[in-house]
């Protein structure tokens, strides 16, 4: 098999591949990659190198994992999952990423394509106006330091209590949109100043807000889909992809620096500076975990304020309240986070970086709403090709620390994408195919062209076949807003 690595990569099943301990000095556990043979062959060399670097970190349990959307990241590969014992293991900002609690949110509607098509341009203009995007964008909320501290500790709950959302939204979010253990007192003033004015903003890069359509023929599990509010018949849904903005980025930057010093003191050596880590139980480890939870809650709040703005935009354009339009939240899920969860090995700090929690129906952590279906998993594809709604499985809990893929994964660098296609040209081509795009940066738009990404359908098929998530529906884009 022709791979971008010299390491031995052994077949476990058609969708699971293992790099044994013998392939790199210092590996404490084998590395496992979830992928079809074709996806594995296309993976960049960074994935193999990085997932085996992760396998060397102290206290890692069972496997260092990479999902089929995996590609090179900082320290951990994007698509990486690793679990460390809370007693003798580490926590690493590189295993979470700069954009703490970057995640996906899906909102359903009762509207159909026929309802929306005549007003699509108007709707996108209104959404573009209400949800600021791009470099340095600030939101409509002006918070005091005290209020921002409450956002850090209460997350989406803070928003709902102030009228930016509905109480029933909260049950349809990972952790109810609020993770406990967030301590604002250990967050730097720099982080606060970077984020305090950014609630309700998208950012740039691969972040987006997308209006999508669900057709009957692209619903794979009608019973589960119906239970999640997805009815098909050219139904309109809205997807949001963004995270904790400048606040989370600064928390990550601050603690990478702290951890460099902590590693020297704790005698920890790593294969890559971006794998800087500290024992989970150390003062630095606990402080980062708490600061990371502040950023995670801010990200939940960010997506909640954006949801409020989306609902207002739809209400303005269609002349009905968001409730009358059936704009219920389907789910909100993180894909850059570290969390303490219980598995067969005991309590573990599970790092998911570009990977999504995927708890099955049997998971006691899930609210009653999802005990029949399993936890919804939202996977964003490129803006040209479409996205997927899936559900977690009990097998994922057994095999992958309750984790699965998060998106399609890049195959082309941003620079290469910009050399291949121009933003204005791409915008025109997409319009001809029925997808309207509003973007702050045309170069940023080119970077996100569909040709820069793996085929999401192939990626989804591989996790479906591996049994760690089950596909529910495919979501086709018709309108996209980008930073």
């Amino acid at each position: 098999m022709n791979l971008n690595t010299d390491m031995a990569v052994n077949r476990i099943t058609d969708d699971i591949w293992e790099i044994p301990l013998s392939e790199k000095p210092g590996m404490l556990v084998p590395a496992r990659i979830y992928a079809t043979r074709e996806i594995l062959q296309a993976m960049d060399s960074g994935v193999f190198d990085q997932v085996t670097n992760v396998a060397c970190l102290p206290g890692i349990r069972r496997y260092a994992l990479c999902m089929p959307d995996g590609h090179w990241g900082y320290g951990f590969p994007i698509g990486g999952v690793a679990a460390f014992d809370v007693q003798d293991g580490v926590i690493s900002p590189g295993g979470v990423g700069y954009d703490i609690n970057c995640g996906m949110r899906l909102i359903r509607t009762d509207l159909t394509l026929a309802d929306v098509q005549p007003y699509l341009e108007t709707l996108l203009t209104e959404l573009f106006r209400k949800v600021p995007a791009g470099v340095g964008a600030s939101g409509f909320l002006r918070l005091s330091g005290e209020e921002f501290a409450q956002v850090m500790t209460h997350g989406a709950r803070w928003c709902v209590e102030r009228g930016y959302g509905w109480h029933r939204d909260l049950v349809r979010m990972e952790e109810g949109g609020c993770i406990e253990g967030a301590d604002p007192s250990i967050v730097t003033d720099h982080a606060i100043q970077r984020g305090i004015n950014q609630l309700g903003t998208l950012g740039s890069g691969n972040h987006y807000l997308e209006v999508q359509v669900v057709s009957n023929e692209r619903i794979f599990d009608p019973v589960t889909a119906a239970a999640l509010g997805i009815t098909g018949h050219e139904q309109i849904v809205v997807m949001v992809h963004c995270g904790s903005r400048g606040f989370g980025h600064q928390v990550a930057s601050d603690y990478l620096k702290v951890f460099e010093k902590a590693m020297r003191r704790n005698g920890i050596t790593v294969k890559d500076q971006q794998l800087a880590c500290a024992p989970f139980r150390s003062p630095e480890g606990q402080e980062y975990f708490s600061a990371m939870n502040c950023a995670a809650n801010t990200a939940f709040a960010n997506r909640q304020v954006i949801t409020h703005q989306i609902r207002e935009a739809f209400a303005t354009v269609f002349g009905q309240s968001a409730e009358a339009l059936g704009m219920e939240l389907v789910y909100d899920v993180a894909h850059n986070i570290a969390k303490v969860e219980r598995y067969a090995e005991g309590e573990l700090v599970v790092h998911r970086k570009g990977a999504t929690r995927a708890f099955g129906p049997g998971s006691p952590e899930l609210p009653e709403t999802f005990r029949q279906t399993g936890q919804p998993v939202i996977c964003g594809g490129s803006m040209e090709t479409g996205s997927y709604l899936l559900v977690g499985t009990d097998q994922a809990v057994r095999d992958t620390f309750g984790s699965t893929m998060h998106g399609s994964g890049r195959t082309m660098s941003r620079a290469q994408a910009k050399r291949t296609v121009r933003g204005e040209q791409l915008q025109q081509q997409m319009k001809q195919r029925g997808i309207l795009v509003k973007a702050v940066s045309m170069s940023g738009l080119a970077e996100e062209a569909g040709l820069a990404y793996k085929n999401i359908s192939e990626v989804v098929e591989s996790v479906d076949r591996a049994g760690i998530t089950k596909k529910v529906a495919e979501l086709r884009p018709i309108g996209n807003i980008k930073g």
Partner: protein
């Protein structure tokens, strides 16, 4: 792969600082399209010029979000007194304006991936990877 990287070279460390700073400013917006009006004077010291450059670039990213600005220029001087390197820099820019400025990427952070300021032969070089 999902990010922006640049290499800055120069005959002195100061030239590398200037080149890296210019590349960072251009990653966020086309400086020619940014007017002035917002200014900050910044002084930083460190015994390690590599750390000093990393912290300076990170500070530029910080001001982008904290002040909601993009930048036209960042004149700087770098001097050495004994073991200590002293950076004196100015940041000149304007509040973000989507109508008049050509905006690029919203940089999240300066990373340590492949980051190294080193002297090879008679010149200095640094590789910087930005998370965007």
């Amino acid at each position: 792969m999902a990010d922006t990287a640049f290499e800055a070279q120069g005959e002195s460390v100061e030239e590398v600082f200037r080149g890296a700073t210019q590349a960072l400013l251009e990653s966020m917006a086309n400086p020619v399209t940014v007017s002035g009006g917002w200014e900050r004077a910044i002084e930083r010291t460190d015994v390690d010029p590599s750390t000093l450059l990393f912290d300076w670039l990170s500070e530029v990213v910080y001001w982008k979000d904290a002040a909601g600005v993009v930048f036209r220029e960042a004149p700087l001087t770098l001097t050495r007194e004994g073991d200590v390197w002293l950076l004196r820099a100015g940041l000149i820019g304007a509040p973000v304006d989507q109508q008049t400025q050509e905006l690029h990427a919203d940089v999240k952070g300066v990373t340590k991936h492949r980051y190294e300021l080193k002297q090879t032969g008679g010149s200095w070089k640094v590789i910087v990877v930005l998370d965007v």
